[in-house]
Symmetry: C2
Subunit: 592 residues, 2 copies
């Protein structure tokens, strides 16, 4: 079973992603290392002892729908109650509404733990915090006063209602309509699908954030508005009262995260029979400007999904490592004990385990660095703020896509390390793979992330910001080179080569965009994102090794550099030389 | 739903893997292209119309155990009956026992179709054919007379009983015991796990091939004997009579292939209460020489599992391609029609689909080439026979491991192309991923295959055979270069580079083995196998392109060369420069 790697997480936060420097500089007021360690330790205990046991029962029992009501698996309601009582939901929440206002880095680190313990459990509060953020930034004071405190505490949960059958990646196609009721409120009509935690029995109310179109809305994405639609309308005392006309009409049967209810939501179909049809909602922000509001929560949700990738990878690595130390088969030269050797002594198994470990740590470093940038932006002013905001924007798609790909790959390697037992559900290795597989898809597929990186993030700062970042990574490579230590093997050379590949492909793609050859740029987006992430991940592992000179970290840095970084050359070829053949070969894909 | 790609399969057999030349040379007697085409067409019809509909119901209902009896999903018994009536089980079977004695290439091609339609369906007969082969080569005339005809026809099915809880990859550890009964028969006692199709209701008898130790057996793998243990003992007329003391005590709950019963089998526990305990069995081959007999069937089973990888990849590609032509989202510059573009027009989706297509075709070419070598060995004499036998031995681990990795990767990409729908079980994309995940594990994990390739196959022919093979691939690259055609882009250069990488790493590993540095060789085995397969796959796609000069095949060859072959350089680095860092970093993996 998962045990939260509290020390590793604390190390990555402080020494790789920059938390220690920020604390020392007083960026977060009087927050100090002691409190950070205490919070991480307590979260680790809770995740290990109280959340991890929910995983198997959640997978087996799943969320169940009956008469438009969803029942969560046994024990989940109690655990959630206990979790919010611990104040975990409000960790990053605004202090004005009862939150603790702690840095995003801590929120992201604890999020990793909840998701490692049970991704279906960690997912719900992620949506709530997204709703909190959107409301805090864009909603009227009345709405904030009515809803935020309960959402921050976790007594109520929030949802994001974007997807419709014809509108997934392309939100311009959405059709859910909103009508002005004349009293300042609106009536919402339509169907939303794939709504995570759209209905459940964990909380006394559920606050839906819903994208819809007003009758006079322009076509496309500039005609979408965002509404708050509660499951229960609030009575005069602000308590959940009458049932609103929004209901769950179906749950999806999914490959994984069975305990997370994925709902089809029907708005305004007259289910609440004592009133006129129409789900009662309130506008968030301005009319027709809903997408901008939604993007506020989507960006952070993307980082949160990236954390799910890290989280599942960590859980899969722990499980595979424990199995490899326990399971004995055959002989191994490195094992001098009695009988068959634990399979961890076989070099091929070691390669799988080290690949899992190195990818997990590199993905974690990227994601935490993104969180660090978000924190620095929030405490900075002027050009510094803009710099950190750009940094967060640059790293968000990388953190989301790379970490979730790593989640799938590491979980799959974890199955492989278990041999035949990996295919048996009882073992739990396959469950992690099933859970992990959604993360590259939702909150914008990884293809969308790659396109976002290339078309929207490479131009940041007139195209210079990305080179600022690469320069920082280069400094790490230079520091390794300057050590001239045999322990690092060829790490510095491999890193410098990978960063050179990153620079060249970055310039190549920027040039393509300038020249209006966007299709060729799009064709290279996915390999580019992976190249970016590998080069960054290698540099972060080097930074970890340099921080304290620990032999294990140096060895892992070297393993990554000498075994995994070589891929960047192939990825560069794919980006810079692959588009023409792709275009030719793709002709055969299109149906007549 | 899957439609058997009969023309593509026929093309790959004839023009890539060598069937046409063999037919033209009369290697298979009067077998001609017409009959080959007719067989493939009829198999395609059966797979498409009668097997494919079994997939979903098989997955959902699964095989069910009650009172030691296993019930197959609805419709499976009838379909299997129809399938054996069509003569499909005996396609490659020995003519002496009612088989059609057709080449392995045809067997493998039809096997692909059954497995694409439903991997759980295709799996059972694979075991039966393995049992047929082991009996045909090693059993006494009496045993052959009693069992082979029914196994060849498929009226009875066969199983392979190797694995025990403590003995998976390491068969030396197995404990099932056999005692001489004094009448020429034996009594078997013990427990076997993960026995595929160990119990079911498809056939009137089940013939288990069981590895066990005699009381006076030497320790290790040289003390293992192979026994035939029927579910029902045969009466004087050769019909199934008394129940033997072998029973299924449990079914595994698995990630995929739910319709394939994975049984725990108990031998000799006294379940058949009317007799003394002990499962009645008969020796196959000589005492203590059972592993050699089992290897006969394991080699071909490994190729068959490789075909499962190809098969699932093909099914996943078809499904994703159909979805991408149907699903509309956003705008694409290549699409001039009304409204949103089918996603097949988006370059990033095209990259996923082309990667799926190219990997599938390359894996198919390798597997069919392995089958071709098996066929040529069986019709050749003297040095030619030895040559082809070496070739089959060389390619078997590559076909098994690469194709099954491709199966998982392509099925996972297939899920991704479907976006959110891919995670919903109803879509069927996730089912293919779940099924595919076992293939890299069973019949020897892919790590074991890589070790087999490096330690047992590279030394073939005094280390020269592998270079004969690379030389043949080089000739293909040279032919592309000689064309000097723009249509091939940089294909020739990329191919030559990949083959050079293959040569260098091959020599490097051979040298390591000569120097007794086997741990370093083992550390590089898995990346070496992939390098081998990519270089070979690239050459086979080039051979396909050269065969008829088809523009689509040329474009796919070029896509593979310019987008996927670049990985070989990174793999070479991993093999030649990765072991030292692996050894260092692995120290942290071993528990105190």
């Amino acid at each position: 079973m998962y045990r939260a790697p509290v020390e590793e997480i604390a190390f990555a936060l402080k020494h790789v992603a920059g938390l220690k420097a920020a604390l020392d500089a007083g960026s977060f007021g009087d927050l100090g290392e002691d409190l950070v360690d205490a919070i991480l330790g307590e979260a680790g205990r809770f995740a290990t002892d109280e959340v991890a046991p929910l995983h198997e029962v959640g997978d087996k029992a799943g969320a169940r729908l009956k008469d438009a009501a969803v029942t969560m698996p046994p024990g989940w309601k109690e655990a959630y109650r206990h979790w919010i009582e611990g104040g975990w939901n409000g960790l990053n929440g605004p202090e004005e509404f009862g939150g603790q206002g702690l840095p995003t880095m801590l929120g992201v680190a604890t999020l990793e733990m909840w998701n490692s313990a049970s991704m279906a459990f960690g997912l719900g509060p992620t949506l709530t915090m997204g709703a909190v953020e959107a409301l805090d930034k864009h909603a009227s004071e009345d709405l904030k006063a009515a809803y935020l405190e309960k959402l921050v505490s976790g007594e109520w949960m929030g949802t994001m209602n974007l997807t419709e059958p014809q509108a997934g990646s392309d939100l311009a196609a959405l059709r859910t309509r909103a009508e002005r009721a004349g009293d300042g409120s609106y009536r919402i009509f339509g169907q939303k699908i794939f709504i995570t935690y759209g209905e459940h029995d964990l909380t006394g109310n559920i606050v839906h954030l819903v994208l819809a179109r007003l009758p006079d809305a322009p076509a496309g994405t500039r005609g979408i508005s965002l509404f708050l639609v509660p499951k229960y309308l609030l009575d005069d005392d602000g308590r959940p009262g009458a049932r609103n006309d929004v209901f769950c009409s179906g749950l999806e049967e999914k490959l994984g995260i069975h305990a997370s209810p994925t709902c089809t939501m029907i708005y305004g179909d007259g289910f609440a029979k004592d009133r006129e049809p129409g789900a009662v909602g309130w506008l968030i922000g301005e009319e027709h400007r809903g997408l901008a509001c939604m993007f506020t929560m989507m960006n952070n949700a993307r980082l949160a999904v990236g954390m799910q990738g890290v989280a599942v990878a960590e859980a899969a690595f722990q499980k595979a490592l424990a199995y490899a130390n326990d399971r004995r088969q055959g002989k191994a030269s490195g094992y001098s004990g009695e009988g068959m050797a634990p399979i961890v002594h076989h070099p091929d198994v070691q390669r799988n385990l080290l690949t899992m470990k190195a990818l997990t740590q590199s993905a974690r470093a990227i994601a935490y660095s993104c969180a660090h940038a978000i924190d620095m932006a929030s405490v900075s002013e002027g050009t510094a703020k803009a710099h950190w905001q750009d940094r967060a924007n640059l790293l968000t798609p990388v953190a989301k896509a790379f970490a979730t790909d790593v989640g799938v790959d590491v979980a799959s390697l974890g199955v492989q390390v278990h041999g035949g037992m990996g295919f048996i559900e009882e073992t739990g290795a396959a469950r992690l793979l099933r859970d992990a597989r959604i993360a590259p898809i939702y909150e914008g597929t990884n293809g969308i992330q790659a396109i976002d990186l290339v078309t929207r993030k490479l131009p940041l700062g007139n195209g210079d910001h990305v080179f600022d970042y690469v320069g920082e990574l280069d400094a790490v490579a230079n520091a390794v080179a300057a050590l001239n230590s045999d322990d690092y093997g060829r790490s510095a050379i491999c890193l410098e080569q990978a960063l050179d590949d990153l620079q060249q492909t970055t310039r190549f793609l920027q040039k393509l965009l300038e020249d209006g050859r966007s299709d060729d740029a799009l064709a290279g987006a996915t390999p580019y994102l992976r190249l970016f992430a590998l080069a960054a991940g290698g540099a972060y592992l080097a930074r970890a090794a340099l921080a304290e000179g620990d032999a294990g970290r140096i060895a892992l840095c070297r393993f990554f550099a000498e075994n995994l970084l070589g891929e960047t050359a192939a990825l560069k070829d794919r980006v810079t030389g692959g588009a023409a053949s792709l275009r030719e070969a793709a002709k055969a894909l299109v149906s007549a």
